[in-house]
Structures are given as C-alpha cells and as structure tokens.
C-alpha cells in the first residue's frame, strides 16, 4: 500500500525527464550524427567503386560495366609491365623523396622550434609560400627551370620536385613537436655529461622521432599520390598516377583498380598500426 504513491510518482518523473532528453538528442546531435555518416559514406563511395571493379570479370581493356565477380585480376596484377614499373617508380621516388625531405625538413623544423635566430622569419615565409602555392605553379615553374637549364626531365627531376614540396610539411610537423619539447630534458642530458652530439642522438632525436616519422609518412603519402607536380617534372619517367592518367585515353585496366585497392589497404593498415602504437605509447 505504501508503495502505491511511489509507483504513481515515478512514471510522472521519468516522463518529464524523457521529455527533455531525447528531444534534444533527436533534434541536434541525432541529425548531425546521421549527416556525418552520410558525408563519410559519400567520401568512401568512390573507393568502394574502385575496389569493386578490381573484381569485375571484364574481358577486354575496358572496365566500365559490371560483368560478374572474379579474382583473376589479382592473379594477373603484374601483367602490364609499364603499370608495374610505374608503381615501382612511384614507390622508389616516394621512399627516396620522403627520406630526403625527412632529413632536410627535420633540420629546418628543429632549428625553427629550438632556436631564435635572425632569418627565421624568412624561413617561415618561404615554407608558408611552398605550402600555399598552387601545385600547378610549382610544377610549371620547375619545368621552366629545368628546361632553361637544359636539364633533361626524368626520375631525378621528379624526385627533386617531390623533395621540394615535402620539406615544408615535414618541417611544420617537426617544428610543432620541438616547440612543445621540454628544454630541460636536453639540459639534463648535458648535465649528465652528454655532449651536444650525444644529446641530440640519444635524447632529442628519439623524442621527436614520432614527429619525424609522421612527417616522413606524410611526405611519402604526398609523393605517391602526387599527380600535378609529377605531370610537369617527370619527363619520360612514369609514376603510378601518371600511368593512370595516360591510360584514361584507352580505358583503365582492372589491374589499376587492384593496385589502387592494395595501396589503399596497405596505407590503411600502416596508418592504423602507427596510430595504435602511438596511442598505446601514450596510454602507458
């Protein structure tokens, strides 16, 4: 009997609470959540199409309409020599340019983050200019530069160009990390008898290494995906995107979809692994 008033009260209260809460959920965040997912789906749709058509059982050069499922293109991945070579060129250029840009950019980023020096403003300015210049213009100016010098275009000029546009990105990432670096850690090393050289390699570098690494990864991604600058500076070298661009005139073979899929999967795996590693490191 005594419980009765309680049971009468309770529904009334929860009703009131339910009235307030879900209403806000549905109108605001609920709609935005659906919206966000919609946009994400939109972003992923072309990737899905690309992956799907890597399994398309098309018979000829043209891979346009769905003709059934097959795995044969995975088996014949390296059938098109030039495509394979393009991919290899892309990988080699990306590795070399990301490492070189990693080294050069780390120097700049470290100096900017660590020291105050005359001319740092100009360095910042030129970095800002390279990051914000249209790729098209960078590629075009490099082309005119090489042509004026009478330098033949090829893998070397391509690599030079990729290093050029990657440096500033690496430097920016490294600078951000160095700026948040506790200076006293370096002093502690010096205090404990380490020379400047030892301090850098034993202490500073390992600490900024994740930043350097993500800078190098960024440079690698920029390089392997680059089309615009490469189009101007590759000369008769062919990279993966350049080959695809050239092949559009006669149709993209399914191998391109397969390679695109594999690059995508590899990229995602590396990124996820890197992310999990650094997150675990943070949590520990």
């Amino acid at each position: 009997m005594t419980a009765q008033p309680q049971t009468l009260q309770r529904p009334a209260r929860t009703d009131k609470g339910a009235d307030l809460r879900p209403k806000r959920r549905i109108t605001g965040p609920g709609v935005m959540r659906a919206y966000t997912w919609l946009i994400i789906l939109w972003l992923i749709l072309p990737i899905f199409v690309m992956i799907l058509f890597g399994f398309n059982d098309t018979s000829g050069r043209y891979n346009q309409s769905w003709e059934g499922f097959t795995l044969k293109w995975y088996g014949r991945l390296f059938d098109i020599d030039d495509l394979t070579r393009g991919l290899i060129t892309s990988l080699v250029v990306a590795v070399v340019s990301s490492l070189a840009a990693g080294a050069l950019g780390t120097g700049i980023g470290y100096a900017l983050g660590r020291y105050r020096f005359r001319g740092s403003g100009s360095v910042n300015l030129i970095m800002f200019a390279t990051i914000s210049s249209p790729e098209l213009v960078m590629g075009a100016s490099l082309l005119t530069f090489f042509v004026s010098l009478g330098v033949g275009l090829g893998v070397v000029t391509l690599t030079i160009a990729h290093i050029m546009f990657s440096i500033s990105f690496v430097a920016t990432v490294v600078r951000a990390r160095v700026m948040t670096l506790d200076r006293s850690i370096e002093e502690a090393a010096a205090d404990l008898g380490a020379t400047a050289w030892t301090t850098f390699w034993k202490i500073t570098f390992p600490i900024i290494l994740p930043a350097v690494f993500s800078g190098v990864l960024l440079a690698f991604a920029l390089s392997i995906d680059d089309f615009v600058v490469s189009n101007f500076t590759a000369g008769n070298a062919v990279t993966f995107p350049l080959w695809i661009w050239g092949a559009t005139r006669v149709g993209i073979p399914p191998q391109v979809n397969v390679m695109g899929t594999l690059i995508f999967v590899a990229g995602v795996v590396i990124a996820v692994a890197f992310n999990i590693r650094s997150r675990r490191a943070q949590r520990d």
Binding site: D182, I185, E187, A188, A189, A190, D191, L192, G193, T198
Partner: protein, 384 residues
C-alpha cells in the same frame, strides 16, 4: 639506511675540504633583451661549503635560477668567475662539470626506462657495465625505488618521478647537486614527505646540495644556510634561524614568514633598548646597537607569533616590553591558531597569531579594542 655506502659519502673528494665546494667571485650576469641590458644577477660573491645544504630563496625573477644555472654551466657569467672545489670552471660546458642537477620538471627522458635514465650519466662517463648496474641498484635503493627499474617515467607518480630525477643525478656522485624547485609539482602532503626524505638522503650521501626555491618554509626546514635573493642581489645569507629571527632587510622580513613592521623615531635609549613612543601608552621597545642615537628613524619588525593579545584592559604585566593598542579588523580561525588583523596606534596593521591553547575562551571579536604586547628581545631592528 643506517650505514652510508662509503663511496657515496666520502669519495675522497669532499674530504679535501680546503676549498669551498662552490665559490662565486664577483659574478655578474646580464641579459640583452630588446636591445637593453638587463641585470639578472648583480655582482655576487659567495661560498658554499662542502657537504652543506644550501638554499637559494627568493621570489620568481630574483635571479636564483640564473645563479644556479651558472653553477651548472648552462649560463656563463658576464663577468666574474665560478669555482668548483677551488677550480675555475668559468666557460666549462655543463657536460664537463662534476655537478648534477635535478630539474623542476624532472626532465626525465620519456623514451628511456628508470634504469636507463639513471644509468645515462654513468654511460657517458664510460663506466663499466657491471659497475653501472651495481651503482644504479644502490641508488635506487636509497631513493626507495628498488624493483622499479623497468618502469617508464610516465608510468610513475609525481613523487616517484622526482626520486628518479634525484637518483639520476646522485648516481654520478657529483661534487654538488643542484635542485631547481624540485618539489614544486608535488601536492602539499607529498612535498612535506619529500622534504624530510631529501634531507635524509643528503645526510646519507654527504654531497653538497644547492637548492633553489621560492618556498620559504621548504628552505627553512631543510637548509643549513639560506641565501635570500631579491632583484639579482643576495639580501641576506645565513642560517635559517638567523634569517627568520634577524631579517637583514624589510624584504627579507616580509618574504620569510609574516612580519609586522613599524617605524618610528627613537624617543630615548636605555640600556641598549630604544623606545619608540606613539602615545602615552603605545610604545615599541627594541634592542639597538650603540650607534643608534635619539631621534633616528628606525624600522622594527616583530613576528606575529611572538605577540600576546589582550582583550579589554591594558596589561599591567608588560611593563618592560612593547605595548600597542588597536581595534580588531579581522578574525580568521586556523585550527591551531587564530589569526587577528589589528589596526594599531602605531599606524601599521599588525598580524597576530594566537595559539588556540587550553584557555581559548578569551577570543576577541571584530571591533574589539585590544592591546598587543611582546618582550623587548622579540623586536628586531631591520637593516643593521
């Protein structure tokens, strides 16, 4: 830790004893900021003895950290010389000075574990591997971190990190250990624990500690001697008691603990005691040196806990001492004591700590008329 490891205590170096551990000879440090020269440390001479627990105390920006960094070698003096153990080390880089430091932020190497952190200095000195393992184990025991050598710094509490920083410096058996506000990041309870701990460790290893802090309580608790710095100048250098009881300047008096400061002209001098009168019944009595003459203007300080507070009637007992009347402005209950702010007839507001002893019934209230009394020896003449 009842026995001190031989090599940590003596090491045959501190025993030489002829030279002070650290000596500043006319050291000046100027910075160039926006084209202007700013003096961080004005001409300073000082000596820190072997095995001493020495504190540099002062507010932020007083130059204490710069002083310490000049000892460590992170800053070079603009003028003057720094001696370690009688050797001129001016211009010697930090990694070549036999001195180690505990940083305010601990500055532990985040990518190295406890063992690697502590072993870092020994590795630089190319100490044999076995020796390193032994000494690191030993020092970790001293700082009570045995068995934690595989931990990463970020897996440890603030107090533990602090101990690692300490061990990392101590393991090198430096001629002196510099500590830059090492307890600043710890909470109150832990800080108090660590103060005791630090003092214990210092006693055990017998190494000269130079301790930089802005916390006067900390400095008073641990130090053998304290240098109070202000605006690039050491205002007073002495034992904690000297500094507390006999502040050399108004700054020191105010910075160390709470001081009540009154000024007034000397009415008369009697048996080494000067009398400053504010009215017929309001007077301050202070011991003075012979040089003080009648009519001189004096600044007298008295600590709040030395003062007795009487409610209502003027006291008859305090005939030979100081008496000031006033009105209670503020009463703050502190548990062990009650703090009063009293507007006195001498013109200055006085702070009085009244111990909440057995007879806690004579509490004054806001607006009450009270009399403050204290013995002549508790008055201290500033700036003598």
């Amino acid at each position: 830790m009842t026995t001190t490891p031989q090599h940590l205590a003596g090491n045959g170096r501190t025993a030489t004893g002829d030279h002070p551990a650290i000596r500043f000879d006319g050291v000046v440090k100027n910075y160039l900021a926006h084209g202007e020269t700013v003096a961080a440390v004005k001409r300073t001479d000082m000596e820190i003895a072997q095995g001493e627990f020495f504190s540099l105390l002062g507010p932020s920006g007083c130059g204490k950290t710069t002083t310490m960094r000049m000892i460590a070698g992170f800053e070079e003096p603009t003028a003057g010389k720094v001696y370690l153990d009688g050797r001129d080390v001016t211009g010697v880089t930090p990694n070549r000075r036999d001195i180690n430091m505990v940083f305010q932020s601990y500055a532990l190497f985040p990518h190295l574990n406890v063992f690697q952190n502590v072993a870092f200095g020994l590795e630089r000195k190319k100490v044999a591997r076995d020796e390193i393992r032994r000494r690191v184990g030993e020092i970790l025991e001293i700082v009570s971190l045995s068995g934690m050598d595989k931990r990463a710094p970020r897996e440890m509490s603030g107090g533990q990190q602090q101990r690692v920083a300490l061990a990392r410096a101590l393991v090198n058996r430096p001629r002196a250990l510099l500590l830059d506000e090492p307890l600043g990041a710890l909470d109150l309870k832990l800080r108090q624990q660590m103060q005791v701990e630090l003092k214990r460790i210092q006693r055990e290893v017998g190494i000269t500690f130079v301790y930089v802090t802005h916390d006067q309580g900390e400095a008073l608790t641990m130090s053998d001697r304290i240098a109070v710095m202000n605006a690039g100048v050491i205002e007073q250098l002495g034992s904690p008691r000297e500094i507390y009881e006999k502040p050399a300047s108004r700054f020191v008096a105010g910075f160390i603990g709470t001081s009540n400061i009154v000024d007034g002209h000397v009415e008369r001098i009697e048996g080494g005691l000067a009398l400053l009168n504010y009215s017929t019944q309001d007077r301050v009595v202070c011991p003075v040196p012979g040089a003080v003459r009648r009519g001189d203007k004096l600044e007298v300080s008295v600590r709040p806990e030395k003062i007795d507070l009487h409610r209502g009637v003027p006291p008859v007992t305090a005939t030979g001492g100081s008496v000031l009347s006033g009105i209670v402005n503020e009463v703050v209950y502190h548990g062990t004591s009650t703090n009063y702010t009293v507007a006195t007839a001498a013109g200055a507001d006085f702070t009085v700590f009244d111990q909440n002893a057995a007879n806690a019934d004579d509490l004054a209230d806001r607006g009450d008329r009270v009399y403050l009394t204290w013995a002549p020896q508790h008055s201290y003449l500033i700036g003598v």
